[in-house]
Amino acid sequence: MNLNGEKIAKYALMTVAFSAVASLLLIAVFIFKEGLPFMFKVGLRDFLFASDWDPMAGKYGIYPMIVASLWVTLGAMLIGAPLGVAGAIFLNEFVPKPVMRVVKPTIELLAGIPSVVFGFLGVMVLAPWIRATMGGPGLSVLAASVILGIMVLPTVISISTDAIGAVPNSYREGALALGATRWQSVYMVTIKAARSGIIASIILAMGRALGETMAVIMVAGNTVKIPHSVTDPVRTLTANIALEMANATGMAREALFATGVVLFVVIMILNGIALSTIKGRVRRK
C-alpha cells in the first residue's frame, strides 16, 4: 500500500517534470503552425526580403522590421554591454566587498522595474531631448537603443559579476606576484578566465533587447521604413506583432505569427549559443 503510494508519487513527479519542456514545445508548435504555412504561401522572399508592409493590400514584407530590430538591438548592446561589463569588473575587482554586497543587489532589484516604465521615461525625457538636440521626431532608433541599453544593464552586470567572481583568487595572486598592477591582472588574467561568462551575459542581454516589446513600441516611433540615420523612427519585429495583433484577422494575423516565427528562431539560436558557452566553461573547470 505504502509502496504503491511511493510509485504514484514518483510517476506523478516525473510527469510534472515535463511541464517546462512540454510548454516550450506547445509554444513552438502553435506559433509555427500559425506562421509557417503563411510564409510558404507568400514566399520566403516576399516575406523576409520585401520592403512593403501593407496587409490591407496583401503586401507582407518584413524586411524593414528585420533591419530595425537589428539596429535597435545592436545599438542597445553598444550602450549596455560596455557599461555593464565595466560595472561588473569594477564591482568585483576595485571595490571593497561590503560595497559590492550593497550595489549588486540594488542593481538586480532594478531589473524588476517594469519595461513599460522605461518606455514611458523614454517618451517623457529622452525623446524630447533627442528632438531638441539632434532633430528628427525624437522617437527613434537612438531613443530605443538607449532605453534598451539601460534595461539590459542588470542582466549584463549580474551574470558578468558571477562569472568574474568565479575566477579563483589564485589566478589574481599569481599575476600580482609577477609584478602586474591590479588592472594588468584584470585584463590579462581575470577577464580572460571569465570570458565565456561575460560573453554569455551579453548574448542573453541581446536576446532580451531583441524580444522587448512594450518599451520599444513607446519610444521607437513605429514607422515601417528602413532607417537611414539613428534619429529615424522605426518599427521592430516585436512592435509589429503587438501593434497589429488587436485588429488583425485572417492572413494579416497569420503574418504576425510568421513574424513571431522569425523572432522565435533568432532568439532560440541566441539562447543556444549563450547556454553552450556557459556549459563549455563548466566542463572545462
Binding site: 516525473m14 510548454s23 509554444i27 524588476g112 539601460i150 542588470p154 524580444g211 503587438a242
Partner: protein, 279 residues
Amino acid sequence: MRIPPKYTQALAVTVLGAATVFTVVVLVFIIVFVLSKGLPGINWEFLFSAPKDMGRAGGIFPTLVGTVLLPLMAIAIALPLGVGTAVYLTEYTRETRLTQVLRFGTDCLAGIPSILFGLFGFIFFVVMLKMGWCLLSGGLTLAIMVLPTIIRTSEEAIRAVPNSYREVSFSLGATRWETVLKVVLPNALPGIVTGVMLGIGRSIGETAAVIFTAGSALRMPASAFDSVRTMSVHFYILAREGISNEKAYATAAVLIISVLLVNLAAYSTMHRFIARRSR
C-alpha cells in the same frame, strides 16, 4: 611608446568607476523621477476608487485587484509544477540525458520573450480553447512564463538541504516521498518562497503577455472567466494613448513600489536563508 602601468591602472580605475557610477545613477534616477512625479497623485481615493472617463479621473482600484489576482493565479498553477519538477530533478533521478533535456528546455523557456508568450496564449487559450480574454487565460500564460524561475530557485533551495537530513529521515524508516514531504521541502521553503516572490514580481510588471490573454477590461472581475486589466496594462494604455500623464505617473509609482517591495521581500528571504545555511 608604452604608457607606464601605473598610469594605465589609474586610467582604468577612473573609466570603470565612472561607468559604474553612471549605471547606478541612471537606474536610481529612473525610480526617483517616477516617484517624485507620481507620489503626489497617490492617495486613499486614488487607490480604492474606480476609474472614471477611461482613467482620466478617479482611481485604479479594479486594476489593483487585477494585479493581485493575476499573479496569484499564475503562481497557483506554476508552483506545484515547478516544485514538482525541482523535486524530481534533485531527489528522484540521477544526471542523465533526460535531465539534461529537461534543464535545457527550462533554460530555453526562460529566454522566450514575453510577446511570444502573448501570441501563444492568445492563439491557444483565448482562441483555440475558446476561453476568451480572461483572468484564467492570462494566469495560465503567466504561469508558463514564470515556471523556469520557480523551477530554478526551488532546485537550488532543495540542493542546499544537507544530505545528512535525508539520511536521518531514511534511517528512521521514512520512504523517499515521506522524506521529501516532511524533511526536504520544509527546509527548502525559504528558497522556494524567493522563487515565488520573483515570479510574482515579474508577473506584476508584465504587459505584452497579459494584454493579449487577460484583455484590458476596466471593471471588477466577477469570475475567472472575466477580463481583467492589471496596473501595468492600465499604465501602458494611459501613457500610450495620452489619456492622462498625471494618472500615468501615479500608476507607475504604485507599480514600481509594489514590484520593488515584492523583489525586496524575495531577496531578504533569500539572504536569511543563506545566512541560516552557512551557520
